[in-house]
Amino acid sequence: MRSVSIIGAGCTKFGERWDVSLRDMIAEAGVMAIEDAEITGEQIDALFVGNMSGGRFIEQEHIGALIADCAGLSRLHLPSTRVEAACASGGLALRQAVLAVASGYNDIVIAAGVEKMTDVSSGTAADALASAADREWECFFGATFPALYAMIAKLHMRRYGTTSKQMAQVAVKNHHHACMNPIAQYHMEITVDDVFKSPMVADPLHILDCSPISDGAAALVLAPTEMAKKFSEEPIKIIGSAQASDTLALHDRRDLTTLDATVYAGRAAFAQAGIEPRAVDVAEVHDCFTIAEILAIEDLGFVEKGQGGKATAEGMTALQGSLPVNTSGGLKACGHPVGATGIKQACEIVLQLRGKAGKRQVDEAEIGLAHNVGGSGGTALVHIFSR
């Protein structure tokens, strides 16, 4: 297997982008990544795009061919593949691109992600997102996505003493980080009190414990490490790439307060990279709900099981902490266009490792991690990057 590096990255502004379409956004992100890598269309061998539900959100499937077309590459007739793993679609597109390059099958490969979610009502969007859960044995009985994470939170609180305040502190921190990120959906500081006063969605999760509905796109250009220096002065190496699955329904899991898919993908990625969790300098984790960030830092091995809430309250995951988590603002405050999220996470790590993250720069970041989850934990992807 060949070593793989990122030679270009681009990400659109995330948010309610009434003025642009999915096509506009994927073209914008693609052009940014290609210009960053200083390559031409003729050098591209293949494209992968993560998109959860073009069918439900914009009534458009066949996103693979569409993105090659929008990027002006139709006359090159490149293989272009859309991949789907609910909210982990972006992370999965990155992994497919890594496999294509690592295997030697392709040299220059685009990994992109896109979702246009605000063209439908919030009810329709919520129902589309609910299809990431088990439609027949969860949603049929009235489960919503926030409800599944709320049930995880309730049991985590009971078992480990995690508090609503600790969960709110995840949102407060991620909003603070987002204020320093020009592409973030929200540039708005919030307090723990704001979270508590916001409407309850599914007890104990308030609306400010939940990631928003967003539009956005992101793209990366990958190349074999041996060729990367030809294109980029600062290629970022992918030193670990792992994927794991679990039952679709939350109720079938071994333990309702652990995402085993994260545990398995994390272990495999760390083993490939040959490092321990404590070697990571900066991480983007899947905080679709505040409790999800607490689970992630536990299940990836950054803290012991049950200590995620306490570690957050103590500031471990803040920008000045020992492991800054979600410097982009995370899904919570940077926004969560589901198919784009996994690629955006990698774009943020690229900026951090290049030392180009501006006000939210983590000092001397050398190793970064991106963690992307599909559904309530049916899929997890972990990628580890190094300068």
Binding site: G123, A126, D127, A130, R135, E136, W137, E138, C139, F140, F141, G142, A143, T144, P146, A147, A150, M151, I152, K154, L155, R158, P199, M200, V201, A202, D203, P204, L205, I207, A249, L250, H251, D252, L256
Partner: protein
């Protein structure tokens, strides 16, 4: 799930009864039914089994913001219940949210699950109700 009746009614026996399967080799119970035991694979011996319907609340939430199909029910309680035979399932608890607790004993009840609009078809299935332990005076009989 409006206009999706066939997909959800196909599995009618499990919608109306808590009927699953039991592997007599490893003694594990499955709901919804599995034909292949994940423990014993082809060495399994599966038989049909109807669950007693009693179980314990493992975790729960009260939903204030639902999808369109369930909006009229808000706020409602959703829980993961472990049936006494072992499998865990997701279902609504028909009780005031103040009464629902982790560890609470519940039993399956047959209820309306939803309606496809005012004049649409009504569909039924399993919800869970608290098991009310008889008080001392009631135990004494009348």
């Amino acid at each position: 799930m409006t206009n999706q009746a066939p997909r959800f009614w196909r599995s009618i026996p499990q919608r109306y009864n808590l009927s699953g399967t039991h592997c007599t080799c490893c003694n594990e119970y499955f709901f919804p039914p599995r034909n292949l035991c994940p423990n014993c694979r082809r060495g399994a011996h599966m038989e049909e089994y109807t669950f007693k319907g009693t179980g314990t609340v493992i975790t729960f939430t009260t939903i204030y913001n639902a999808t369109e199909d369930f909006e009229r029910l808000t706020p409602y309680n959703l829980a993961i219940i472990q049936l006494d035979e072992g499998p865990k399932i997701t279902g609504q608890i028909v009780s005031s949210s103040a009464n629902v607790k982790i560890g609470m004993r519940v039993k399956a009840v047959f209820r309306i699950l939803g309606k496809e609009g005012e004049k649409g078809i009504i569909y039924y299935g399993t919800k869970f109700a608290p098991i009310i332990e008889p008080s001392c005076s009631e135990k004494g009989g009348r």
